[in-house]
Symmetry: C2
Subunit: 482 residues, 2 copies
């Protein structure tokens, strides 16, 4: 645990918080708190002193104001599916969970919007509006569990980002409880609203501006039809070349995903889709749109893949096969459990044309550390997700994962890419931010942060290497999961 | 002129500026400056003391640093096609024009990006990449003249915003010369970059954060095919209902534009497309995508329009007819010159479902002021553009335009809409901002502005009603064009 003993909360604050949410929505027992000590990034852990489960923006604002009065920091938490430790409490004794703020408040079919609370599960939104022929487009792999509030904090992507864009492209406005407890609505009905785009700068701020409690989401029509193709390659480089060639032909697939041999092996063992076990790489390519145009476009994609060396191209025969293919892809991380006791997913970006090069570099770096690596990623976006396999009981492997992760991201930046495509900085990549940003850039960001949270109370010690001037930030303890 | 006499620049600054850009790139004669005293918003005018035409980011940064040393404010100017007075110099003696920074620096076909200088004309970008099957999607009606830098300042839209989004959705990064002369690059290769989205908050900042000198643009594939339909209605309300019905059927047109009777009359007189002169409203509906799917979708649109009372639906027969139709639409403002000596274009937004209501309200408000009004607008976005006709020699009419403009925007806000869809606040709507934002919201924005420009030197006295605390801002003089 991270120095929490030294900053225990005053008893009077417990009383105030209990009065706000009720005893049934305040967790403080050791057993109760255990599940809140990490998110999907399990290399570091830290437990809050109390978890609150408010039911309204009013309650959230009251909690935040109480924390302000007592000079206590707080951290928001959605479903805990994040992959960079964004909701890890570091010197923030109060955790505010959104699991009880899970209502879809209104659906406006004519204007294609939905107003939701932050704790609504991503997939629930699309389920609620499907009958109207609409969907909420951003679809992170964790969409059966992750929440809209968490998606907004991390500006989440997903397989369909390639065509539809990320979270910020689908959130018209957010209700933000600022770090001082003021409630503001940022954004509006128009893409280009008056004044500065404070909506946009809040999305992806990882909870450091305050807590998003509600949002107005843009809905888009469900495509009339899909075609989902599986292309099988004997060489990863051929698969990468096919990705470039598809894009180069002016096709905009809805999704363009790649899995390498090790990933295919794990996924096939788990879900029995019928992936060939001897392939070096597969591409999952989905196009959507009007029924009439898809058949010919699918043929063009098949032709491109075969020209680039695909030994087999299969089209999902029906919706059931499509669903199984996507299940295999989206639960790929889960299947990795079959390969090793532990794994760490990295998240980096390279220009699309650099995908073959970064894949070779990843293999080399993993080999240097004596680690196995599986790759499943958004190839069309250049958004890589190497999964480093390890055993947490082996200290050498744990260290190797940390070294390899850093080297992979350094390679991404060297290729003109970036440190994260969709998972955020959290605690995981704080040390790496200076790879991409100079001191002046970081200072500009810190100053923006202080506009929203001058006292650095909302999700402190995230994103920036040492964001409290004059306060020594202890390096989060690098250790394996308990 | 706005109090410029009182703040003449020191002679030594002239010398420094001349040394930076050379005498041939410094304009200061009365005749030379005359064309710089307004943009497309001609109700207010103000002349800079000097116009500089730098050729590089280095020169821009040097100009800005010189202005800082002399405590002199500056204002950027693209092509001057803006419609809210965004580049009107108010107590900013130095104008920095971007007409000589007009190079496309690089086109990366594989990654679908272009790096351009701020002064590149919008349409030039698409022209340069068309051979690769690519385009730059945002297409303001002024695209043959307006510049990328101006588009970024205003976060410009255009007819194809409905499908493709506005400028911010197509700019991956910007190079910003901050108000203190520091050069920073904001944004990167990924939609969801690490840290805060300072790229996003800079786009639409109307030059108040500093000066954008370069940008990396996202390119998208040219559609394989288009279908462009003209639907003719005897009643505006039927046309509005058709807009809602098309969207309601899950169709996402690339563009969905409306022109009312007066607008059609002016456009037909100017461009002879063959619009029926007795129609109450026409819709221009464009769909794009794969060739195969378009015919059936066009049929669906035609069916919807006829169900809603269209008396005629025509499909553009070929590319020439499509081009003429779009020329008629995009040059509609020019055609208005035939109707009255002067006109003022408003820019507001309502939820799409409120289009019929706002059109009725606009008619009532204009009638109250004894003014004629023509409407041409992005109906699919709910982004209205009523054009108020007047004669600047008639003081009563000028006052009526100002009153009507304000009332129309108040009505937009009352319907759940917004003060501007794409033209910005500039000087035109500073007084109206409090209709939409409370004091706390405005203070938040002011504080963000001060992060980038603590001394309020870059394009001062814009957006915010009185953005220099302690400085009395003279109300811009409301008067007709000279």
């Amino acid at each position: 645990m991270l120095g929490l003993g030294a900053m225990s909360m005053p008893a009077s604050l417990f009383d105030e918080l209990t009065a706000i949410v009720g005893a049934g929505a305040l967790l403080r027992g050791d057993e109760e708190l255990r599940v809140y000590d990490c998110d999907g990034y399990t290399l570091e852990r830290s437990r809050p002193e109390v978890v609150l489960l408010p039911r309204s923006t009013r309650e959230v604002a009251a909690i935040v104001r109480a924390c302000n009065r007592h000079d206590v920091c707080f951290v928001p938490r959605g479903a805990g599916t994040g992959l960079s430790g964004g909701c890890l409490p570091i010197r923030a004794p109060v955790m505010i969970g959104f699991s009880r703020m899970n209502r879809v408040l209104a659906v406006d079919v004519a204007n294609r919007t939905a107003r939701v609370e932050a704790g609504v599960v991503n997939r629930e939104v699309s389920a609620r509006v499907a009958a109207h022929g609409l969907q909420y487009a951003p679809d992170p792999s964790s969409q059966p569990a992750c929440t809209i509030g968490g998606n907004i904090a991390e500006n989440s992507g997903g397989p369909h980002t390639l065509k539809y864009g990320v979270t910020t492209n689908h959130v018209l406005s957010v209700q933000l409880v600022r770090a001082d407890g003021e409630v503001v609505e940022l954004g509006g009905v128009a893409d280009d609203g008056p004044g500065y785009d404070l909506r946009g700068v809040s999305i992806g701020a990882e909870g450091t501006f305050g807590l998003v409690t509600e949002a107005t989401l843009r809905l888009v029509p469900l495509p009339e039809a899909y075609r989902t193709l599986l292309a099988v390659f004997d060489r990863v480089d051929d698969a990468s070349a096919a990705v470039s060639a598809i894009i180069g032909r002016g096709i905009v697939p809805a999704a363009l995903e790649m899995m390498d041999a090790l990933m295919v092996e794990a996924v096939e063992a788990a879900y029995h889709f019928g992936f060939p076990k001897d392939a070096d790489a597969v591409l999952i390519i989905e196009i959507d749109g009007l029924h009439a145009g898809l058949a010919r476009q699918a043929e063009r994609i098949e032709t491109v893949c075969r020209e680039r060396g695909a030994r087999e191209v299969r089209v999902a025969a029906d919706e059931a096969e499509r669903a199984l293919l996507w299940k295999s892809r989206k639960r790929a991380f889960g299947a990795v459990g079959r390969l090793a006791p532990n794994y760490c997913t990295q998240d980096g970006v390279v220009p699309r044309s650099k995908v073959p090069e970064i894949l070779r570099t990843i293999r080399t770096i993993a080999a240097e550390q004596g680690l196995r690596v599986a790759n499943v990623f958004h190839a069309g976006d250049g958004n890589i997700h190497p999964i480093l396999l390890y055993d947490e009981r082996d200290r050498r492997e744990v260290d190797g994962v940390l070294v390899a992760g850093r080297k992979i991201l350094e390679a991404c930046v060297a290729l003109g890419g970036s440190l994260t495509g969709e998972h955020g900085i959290g605690v995981e990549k704080m040390d790496l931010l200076p790879l991409l940003f100079g001191a002046a850039d970081l200072e500009l960001m810190r100053r923006v942060r202080r506009v929203f949270d001058p006292d650095l109370r909302s999700n402190p010690h995230k994103i920036f290497p040492a964001d409290s001037a004059g306060i020594e930030v202890r390096e989060p303890q690098r250790r394996a999961a308990l």
